[in-house]
Point group: C2
Chain length 344, copies 2
């Protein structure tokens, strides 16, 4: 392997000082065109590129963003990851990925590791944050943005969709469809998204004077949702819900599989199903799932904007919590009330 090409080598070849080389590669530094040309020429000949790590050390800015994810089985996240990585790349940042199982201590450990890399910021997708760790980041001066989760606690920025409103819309749609026995398969109780979706759902239902006919625990996992669906629907017809709101699409698919293929019921003939997220498979015709769309584009854009604001002005006002509107995408998995059209 060839010798390492340093700025010093380039400087020698170009006949300038080493700092001149540095300046040429530092946007906004003052260099004469003549020097710049000489340096660029020498750099090109040598194949020189600045060492990002060295730069990070002295400048204190690594241009690395740590990303913690725990849940790539939910296809909302690959999409988000892709968009996030692209958006950050455009701003000259790169993403260091850390997988975290939702285990208690694990996330904390992972965040410590992230901090070791002197990241400029952290995005936590679908993971909860202990206050210990929040403080640790604060004290390290590293801004954190929660993605698709939030903490009630002050001072932690978060970007979500408006899950409460989304839950309401699901219920309203089912109500308008004339359903009488509306059930819910909930996600993992530890998630703010789950809590808000259920709260919104319940609020609309009770406003209409209807109870939640049945409630299953899906934990945001396909397996758990399948079990929940079995005990919810494998019952005599008169005890069976005629509609179910499933707290995310990932679970909704396995719920639909149980309803149609294990129990031989028809969707939406016997049961209407509404999901949440609008991941790509929701649009596949075999599912054709009516669902609340989380707009990954917008959520990512807002996340990046928030992060940049926090990085550039660390002493800014209290970090913002954003909740983006969440359109109902009407497809074929739930009976459509007369005259109702999709919001998407």
């Amino acid at each position: 392997m060839a010798e390492k090409v340093t700025s010093l080598k380039v400087a020698e070849r170009a006949g300038v000082s080493q700092s001149a080389v540095s300046r040429v590669f530092t946007p906004g530094a003052s260099v004469s065109k003549k020097t710049a040309d000489k340096v660029r020429k020498a750099a090109a000949e040598l194949g020189y590129r600045p060492n990002v790590l060295a730069r990070a050390m002295v400048s204190g800015k690594s241009r690395i963003i740590g990303l913690v994810v725990a849940y790539l089985e939910n296809y909302f996240y690959p999409e988000a990851l892709e968009k996030l990585s692209n958006a950050l790349q455009e701003k000259g940042y790169h993403v260091l990925v850390f997988m975290a199982s939702q285990t208690a201590g694990n996330v904390d450990k992972v965040v410590e590791e992230i901090l070791d890399y002197q990241v400029d910021g952290i995005v936590m997708a679908s993971v909860a944050m202990s206050s210990d760790i929040a403080e640790r980041c604060q004290q390290a001066g590293v801004p954190v943005v929660l993605f698709n989760r939030y903490e009630d606690r002050e001072g932690v920025a978060a970007v979500t969709s408006d899950n409460f409103a989304g839950g309401r819309k699901a219920a309203e749609f089912l109500l308008a469809g004339g359903h009488q026995r509306i059930a819910l398969i909930a996600g993992w109780e530890g998630a703010s998204t789950q809590r808000d979706r259920e709260a919104g759902f319940r609020s609309a239902l009770s406003q209409a004077g209807q109870p939640v006919f049945a409630r299953g625990k899906g934990e945001f996992k396909a397996e758990a949702a399948r079990d929940a669906a079995r005990s919810m629907f494998d019952v005599p017809p008169d005890q069976r819900p005629d509609a179910v709101f499933v707290a995310n699409d990932h679970m909704a698919f396995s719920v639909m599989d149980v309803i149609r293929f294990e129990l031989g019921l028809s969707i939406p003939g016997d049961v209407s199903v509404v999901g949440y997220d609008d991941v790509p498979p929701a649009a596949w015709l075999a599912y054709d799932l009516t669902t609340l769309r989380q707009r990954a584009n917008l959520m990512v854009a807002e996340t990046v904007a928030t992060l940049m604001r926090l990085i550039e002005t660390p002493d800014a006002a209290a970090p913002r919590k954003t909740a983006l509107d969440c359109p109902l995408i009407v497809r074929g998995s739930a009976r459509v009330p007369l005259g109702w059209t999709s919001e998407g």
Copy 2:
């Protein structure tokens, strides 16, 4: 934000030299238990953790692996990414992700950026590698492993499944099922995976004296596959294939949608479908897709092993190309020959 805690601060508090602190945090360095205890105590009190970047600068090892991906819509990759990241994390490495569109120059640019981070190795998933860039990495002394692709060129390590054998199995299964008009929807021609799958498929077919009844271009994209399926199947019954091998699951789903929901044909009654990858949705009952399983676990394990070998012994023998066996998973989307059982 509190002051930065450096090894020097810890040294002062522990009453030892700064290098003593360094040694305590360097596995395998020689320190007395007494010093170690003092240092650890001081470090804990101060919340000290070594700065990975500084360490990387002097040691030349960043413990960062660059990962280039281009294709997260194919759900084989999120799975692989998750497993890869986990496996690497266990070995004390972390993954810096770079999204690359398959555009010609783009990958090269991305790899340059990766190199700027002084990564210890690079994994390229589903992206081709120009020989320019291969040389660049070589000269920078950074080992590269191709994941789910290979280059014919010597000297580039690669991990794939045995796509030729897989293609053969697909054909043999369809043949054994008694199909007379077996078609193919191909992936992107630039990919070695596509070429091998098709070659294997053709080899078994011609060995049985059958032609490829029809061939569509799916490009590994759902949209393209949909169009290909439309023109392949929306024809008079006697010109219609009775079976189709689709070069990956991602495309197979949209092909199935066209066949069943747009054209009202039955699977496997009118048409048998076989895919490739065995991504999670292939097991969802609404698709229940017979497919060749790419064992992400094994592929990732092999990738990590290869990478570690290359990192630890840079002057090792010519990098290895591995092709892992690929079992046929028999489900309901293709007619099952009598007495045939799944390999998975």
